[in-house]
Amino acid sequence: MLSKRVIACLDVRDGHLAKSVRFVDTKNIGDPVAKAREYYEDGLDELVFYDITASSERRRIILDVVEAVAAEVFIPLSVGGGVRSVQDATDLRLAGAEKINVNSAAVRRPALIAECADAIGSQNVVLSMDIRQVTPDQRHPSGYEVVIDGGRTPMGMDALAWTRQGERLGAGELVVNSIDADGTRQGYELNLTRKISEAVRIPVIASGGAGLPAHLFDVLTEGKADAALVASMVHYGDYTVSGLKSYLHGRGVKVRMSW
């Protein structure tokens, strides 16, 4: 049986970890490579870099970061943030990213998913979705809508319908990020995660809301997610990757325990 995965997400701005993330281990402040290495050595199953660089130099900067991390970290590396074309995806792959996350650009132009799947293989195309709960109506029968641009722009699209369309177009995996749960540390959005996981046959990564180890347990069992994404929980030093995995293992969740 496959193990459930614990994935850490690092936001990178201008080649440094985003300021919104505070780190307790001062020697690692600002250095995505050192942080990635630390998590890798502590048993992380997969790493996601999210590029939030705004400058025009963004592509070169994130490529340098990916290249430096890929030289030291030998687990799957996923990169997202501003991927708009097959060229963006193949550049990142060449720099050492295994998987490419597409989000807003795919909502605006769904064909991007199919183009990327053709170029780099379905299994390497991750459709990342920011989702918000709404009152169910004709346009949003599931009661969830897709928002883009970091949660600012609602698109009038039903989240479940978009999920299925993404799978059909060739996405190999989904990141389900709940805008409502994000940052609350009150737990993942279990209902949303389970609905989506039951609607598709590709793996689902739950994102947004993790604050306690029990939240990971809940989303990997009740929420039926294949992987749980963590950020501030481990970035602030409250928990370690190995500690989270030991906890899950102790509660009977199959996770990779030797590394």
């Binding site: 496959l2 030998f74 687990i75 293989g121 046959r201």
Partner: protein
Amino acid sequence: MIVDYDAGNLRSVQRACREVGLDAVISADAEEVRRAERIIFPGVGAAGSAMQSLRATGIAGALTDAYRAGTPILGICLGLQISLDHSEENDTETLGLVPGSVRRFRLTDPALKIPHMGWNAVDVVRRHPVLADVQPGDEFYFVHAYFPSPANRGHVLAEADYEGRFCCALGRNNYIATQFHPEKSGRVGLALLKRFAEWDGHA
């Protein structure tokens, strides 16, 4: 050397080799394949287009020659699948270094996803120098929808479980191959690559 036949990202394999002290060059030249001291044959993608590319470049013949000459060869993922006789994927005739075929997962449990993607335990069922460091319970990273089914049980080196056991490492003489990705499998994967770097080709 690492064989380049337009089938995926070879630099991650090269980086992992470098990490264990193996200086590997990437080459798409059939003559270089024949002359190589040691060969890694990776690959992701579809069997059909991969075989077309291997035949068009002459690498298919070069790999078979290198195998017959006793060069240590490591196949990874699609590289493994192409070493058998036939693949269900695109109904493709493949290299035939190891007798057997490659089949698609047919799962009954709707909760199990295809491709089989993620970390899974690898059980060594036959001792092999390249797998010497793999301990019970060690997990490796997999991404695949098809799995190898060698005709000769003696060629199966390791198995994994995904609604039933399947062969995830096979070997014959100086050829060894893994369905999983040692270059993405952390310390245990690097240890496997290091063993391959030191292997003399005798099982």
